[in-house]
């Protein structure tokens, strides 16, 4: 055995080794023999409180599992006399003094066998490395990775399930992703639409225009907006509205494009139908208006005609024979008397007993016209003492509206002067003056 050149204090040397060493006996209780100052430092317990004590008495296990893990490792070394590295364990140490409580620590411990000359196990040397920091860093990295994966999954879920057709493209404009809505819509595999394959699935009349617009956007970086017909899985071309925006990095370079499309086929159709309906309505309303104007014009013409006619004209409306229209010649026969708006029986009560109302009723009911010839009527004129004794030639003619009797049209001539003159002549002939 080689001896040292100088006398060496091996215990001092051991105590000051810059590692956490704990020397343990080979007994079942794993009695603690000694430890380094560094071990004292990290274990937060004075040497006097651990040396000579059973391992688990000095350092109680926080749980059964970890205790078993340590026991198994000790046993491994005892049996195989080979170093044994334990899995990373959490082994919290009691804080000394007022601080109190436990400090959360992670350890990587290895048990080494120390053998004597005969190769028998003399001690178990535990080397413990405090890997709390590395462990925490690894934990944090794993958590970050998980969070990232979760975030990606979230994004993917959103892209796949939004009621929108979504795609992405590289800075060169080549499409590199389509969401499942898009693929379900077109019924084509993703590979068919990648790059510029998607253009094949557009309506032939739209391909050139859309390709040009997309190329423009890719070149200038301007937002891409376009409408076109995309072939659906059933072969029908549907109008869609597509909008895409470029994503830029810190250097303002485009790193990708994300596009979204919505089916606007129904909307567009509705706009078209509405336009057609409105144009039809506009046309109809124009025609109705023209007809109305024409009817108005005609009404005015007839009105003027009747008003200026050199005959007595009036219109009696309804079964009560209400004066609806009276021309000036007619009114002249009844100067100063209110006719318009009144029934004949009320406007001219004196004609009732002369049988006029009965004739009017009959014409109104049967529709047979009545022709009066030199009919004698007597009526009062305001300011005249004697009733006016007049003779009239006239017609009463029913008029109909919507297939129903509506009133009577009266057309008359005052032939009083003629009759009176003739009567005078007849008087002369019948009674020749005495000779």
């Amino acid at each position: 055995m080689v001896t040292a050149a100088l006398p060496v204090d091996y215990q001092r040397l051991f105590h000051q080794l810059p590692e956490n060493f704990l020397l343990i006996g080979t007994d079942a209780a794993a009695t603690i023999v000694d430890n380094t100052d560094a071990h004292v430092g990290v274990s937060l317990k004075p040497r006097a409180e651990v040396v000579g004590k059973a391992f688990f008495e000095a350092f109680p296990s926080p749980d059964q599992n970890q205790g078993d893990e340590i026991r198994r490792s000790h046993e491994h070394v005892r049996q195989h006399r080979q170093p044994h590295q334990m899995p990373v364990i959490r082994y919290d140490l009691e804080r000394p003094g007022e601080q109190g409580g436990f400090e959360e620590l992670y350890w990587q411990a290895t048990h080494y066998p120390v053998l004597n000359e005969r190769g028998e196990l003399q001690y178990i040397l535990q080397r413990t490395q405090d890997i709390t920091e590395q462990y925490r860093a690894a934990q944090a990295a794993a958590a970050a990775k998980k969070a990232l994966a979760e975030e990606q999954e979230r994004t993917r879920f959103m892209l796949e399930n939004l009621p929108v057709l979504v795609w992405t493209a590289g800075p060169d404009g080549g499409r590199n992703y389509f969401n499942s809505r898009w693929l379900a819509f077109t019924g084509r595999p993703m590979e068919a639409d990648l790059g510029s394959g998607w253009l094949e699935n557009l309506h032939p009349d739209d391909q050139a225009r859309v390709s040009e617009t997309w190329h423009q956007s890719v070149t200038t970086g301007a937002t891409y907006q376009v409408e076109y017909r995309l072939r659906r899985h059933d072969g029908q071309y549907r109008w869609i509205l597509v909008r895409a925006t470029p994503r830029r990095n810190a250097a303002n370079d485009i790193t990708m494009w994300v596009g979204g499309a919505t089916d606007i086929h129904e909307q567009r159709q509705m706009v078209q139908e509405l336009l057609e309906a409105n144009e039809q309505q506009g046309l109809l309303s124009e025609q109705a208006y023209e007809l109305y104007q024409k009817a108005e014009g005609q009404r005015e013409t007839y009105y003027n005609l009747f008003m200026q006619a050199p005959a007595m004209i009036c219109v009696l409306r309804g079964p009560a024979h209400v004066y609806d229209f009276v021309n000036p010649v007619y009114q002249q026969i009844f100067p100063g008397r209110q006719l318009l708006g009144l029934p004949v029986a009320e406007a001219l009560p004196e004609v009732v007993e002369q049988g006029i109302i009965d004739i009017l009723d009959k014409v109104y009911q049967t529709g047979e016209s009545f022709y009066g010839n030199e009919l004698n009527l007597k009526f009062i004129r305001p300011g005249e003492g004697q009733p006016y004794n007049g003779y009239f030639n006239f017609t009463y003619q029913q008029f109909r509206e919507h297939g129903q009797p509506a009133g009577i049209m009266v057309f008359a001539y005052d032939v009083t002067e003629l009759v009176v003159a003739r009567q005078a002549l007849e008087g002369l002939a019948g009674n020749p003056p005495a000779a």
Binding site: T213, R243, I264, V271, L275, N278, E279, Q281, G282, E296
Partner: protein
């Protein structure tokens, strides 16, 4: 000839028709014809000129309708140009402004009608 409610109904139909035509331009259903935005060829503008002005030219509403209609046509023209230059959504969003003008015109027509047919 005096204006009747029939005339005003006509004006309202023309108004809706303009909006419908503009919308169809902004939805790519039909190409924009230049006369769509011309005051002289706009049906409502023509109605103002030939029917309303002779009868009610002095009413302040007439001038006001003319002014708002001019703005509506101008806005419609701008929207059609926006649509043609690829700003599809921006153009369609602009229909809100057209609706505001249309509502103003409707309000003025109602006032005018009340005065004219009272």
């Amino acid at each position: 000839m005096a204006l009747t409610s029939f005339d005003f109904q006509q004006a309202r139909v023309k108004q809706v028709l303009f909006k419908s035509r503009l919308r169809s331009v902004l939805y790519g259903v039909r190409e924009a014809e230049p006369e769509l935005f011309s005051m002289r060829e706009n049906p409502l503008g023509q109605w103002l000129q030939t029917s309303v002005k002779p009868a009610l030219g002095a009413q302040p509403e007439v001038r006001e309708i003319e002014r708002v209609l001019q703005q509506m046509l101008q806005t419609g023209h701008d929207l059609a140009r926006r649509y043609q230059s690829g700003l599809i959504e921006e153009a369609r969003n602009g229909l809100d402004q057209v609706n505001i003008y249309a509502d103003q015109i409707e309000l003025l027509l109602t006032g005018l009608e009340r005065n004219a047919t009272a």
